[in-house]
Amino acid sequence: MSAAMTAARKARDAVRTGAGEEAQGRRPRWTRGRVGLLACALVLAVLWVLPLAWALATSLKPEDETTDTGLNWIGSRITFDAYRQVWESGDLTRWMLNTAYIASMTTLLTVVLTAMAAYGFSRTEFRGRRVLYGLVLAGIMVPPQVLIAPLFAEMVALNLVDTYWGVILPQVAVPAMVFILVKFFEGLPRELEEAAYVDGAGRWRVFWQIVVPLSRPVLAAVAIFTFIQTWNNFLWPFLVTTDPNAMTLPVGLVNVQSTYGVRYAQVMASVIIGGLPLLIVFVFFQRQIVRGVAHTGLAGQ
């Protein structure tokens, strides 16, 4: 490859990937070091995927072959019996719908409430604003685990045990998200908003029609993070639901487990079914999820 072509390619790459993307990748040649890196990464990736691959392999074996010793990845035949039995034994469809509903409502409420609050704290003036914001920030330090006992007593008093709202409402007030959004709103240019005020728009219009559209990436980040957290949350739904009809997927899976005994193909089938929804979502929305997780995490600084 001629020098001119290399230079042209480099420039094109730089434009395409953006400055930060490629740190040292100026020579895409296969040096010994690069091959070593790749081999190392491949080994680790295989190790990381191995547990799930083994779960999949087990779930496709006939039940009586799961306890054969020796590393047989494929049994005498590939069968979906275990999946059928899991599907029949528990109310998986119902639990998935429960989880989807609870996670969606929690996400929606969290995003709307925290975005409004963050706007209020960063763009308006009212008496007590600083004190209230300080109080909210202090809440970041409160670990949810500390609240479970009194929160449960509160749910009993409010008659919310075994209801969707009993699971949803306590997960909605997330002070860390307010903090992330306040930081973001403070970085937004005020000119657009001020122009709208001059035009006679009120605060609500400015918020919904200017601030919210401008903040779509950060709101998506908050939403994605909240959704993953709620979908997978175990402890609180586990404590507050006893009725199988109100259970979320993680809680239901634990509950139904006891009925399998030591039938590993079925347990692994339930592992695959339980893990699949978010993995599929991840494959389709990888870019957004990665950005969302990195963004919410980094904002913790």
């Binding site: 990736a45 609240l147 000119e191 918020f207």
Partner: protein, 315 residues
């Protein structure tokens, strides 16, 4: 918005008091108050965070059961009892051991994986998928999966090693097994944070160092590591805070066994409150953990402040 202001905002545009149309109704004007934006969140915050925090403190001063009957004020007796409760200190010790083992591992492995994925230009999505995917599993799924991998007779690990390692059967092994499973499960999060941090390091630093004749290792020690120092600090703190609250996977894999040798303090609190119906005592235990966690957070804030002060002086 019909017309997005062709007129530029005047320099001293009132940012807090919006221009009002003369015809706007009184109600409309009241609704402009900033408090309305904050109020809905504050209601939830008050009902589901502040109130349980306060009522928990009150419960902790009482002998209260879950049904709320037979409440009796006993002052600090719950706390006094906790100080002499061996089970509390054992479970707290387990949580601290878990934290101390897991945190450095997460930092090292996440950094290593991120370095690899960042420096290999091919198949970025694949590395992300492989290392981050476990983070997306619910804890119940993680527990079932790893209980099967650790199975003494038929599990993958013992089968592959051709040995009978007591992964979950002996205390020390069990704690190590919990740490290993948790590493696999959660390292993806820190991995993504490191990856983002690595991408933010400007190229010209590496180019300049390369011109000066620095090799790959020198560039890593003198550029990469210092440049991600803030992220490392963040990951350490997030990891400590998360590990101090560990419950799901230990409870679900092994119920804190064998012989409660891995039982984390959160599990002990739940057992006291929900199995033993002693919500007052459970609240007192929660407050002890809470103080610990606040202490970690304050130390972190203090360290950050000290570092920024030092930087200010040297400049």
């Amino acid at each position: 918005m019909t017309a997005l202001a062709p007129a530029p905002a005047p320099p001293g545009a009132p940012e807090t008091a919006p221009a009002r149309r003369p015809g706007r109704s009184r109600l409309g004007r009241i609704m402009q108050h900033g408090g309305w934006f904050v109020a809905p969140f504050l209601v939830f915050y008050g009902v589901f965070l502040v109130w349980p925090l306060v009522s928990g403190l009150w419960y902790s001063l009482n002998e209260t059961n879950l049904a709320g009957i037979n409440t009796e004020f006993i002052g600090l007796d719950n706390y006094r009892e906790a100080l002499n409760d061996d089970q509390l200190w054992d479970s707290l010790g387990n949580t601290l051991t878990f934290t101390a083992m897991l945190t450095p591992l997460i930092v090292a492995v996440a950094f290593g994986l991120a370095l690899l994925a960042h420096n290999i230009k091919h198949g970025k999505w694949f590395w992300r998928l492989a290392f981050f995917a476990p983070f997306l599993l619910p804890s119940a799924v993680l527990a079932d999966l790893w209980r099967w991998l650790y199975e003494p007779d038929y599990g993958l690990f013992n089968n592959a090693l051709n040995e009978r390692v007591p992964w979950l059967l002996e205390g020390d092994w069990a704690m190590f097994s919990m740490v290993l499973a948790t590493l696999w499960w959660t390292v993806g999060f820190s991995f993504l944070l490191y990856l983002a941090a690595l991408q933010a390091i400007p190229d010209h630093l590496y180019e300049a160092a390369a011109l000066d004749g620095a090799g790959p290792w020198q560039r890593m020690w003198h550029i990469t590591v210092p440049m991600v120092r803030n992220i490392t600090g963040l990951i350490v703190v997030l990891q400590i805070l998360a590990s101090l609250q560990v419950f799901d996977q230990i409870f679900l894999i092994n119920e804190g066994g064998p012989n409660n040798e891995t039982r984390p303090v959160v599990q002990y609190i739940i057992q006291q409150g929900f199995t033993g119906y002693r919500i007052g005592y459970a609240s007192a235990l929660s407050y002890i953990v809470f103080v610990l966690i606040v202490a970690v957070t304050l130390v972190r804030l203090w360290l950050v402040r000290k570092r920024t002060d030092e930087k200010g002086e040297t400049r």
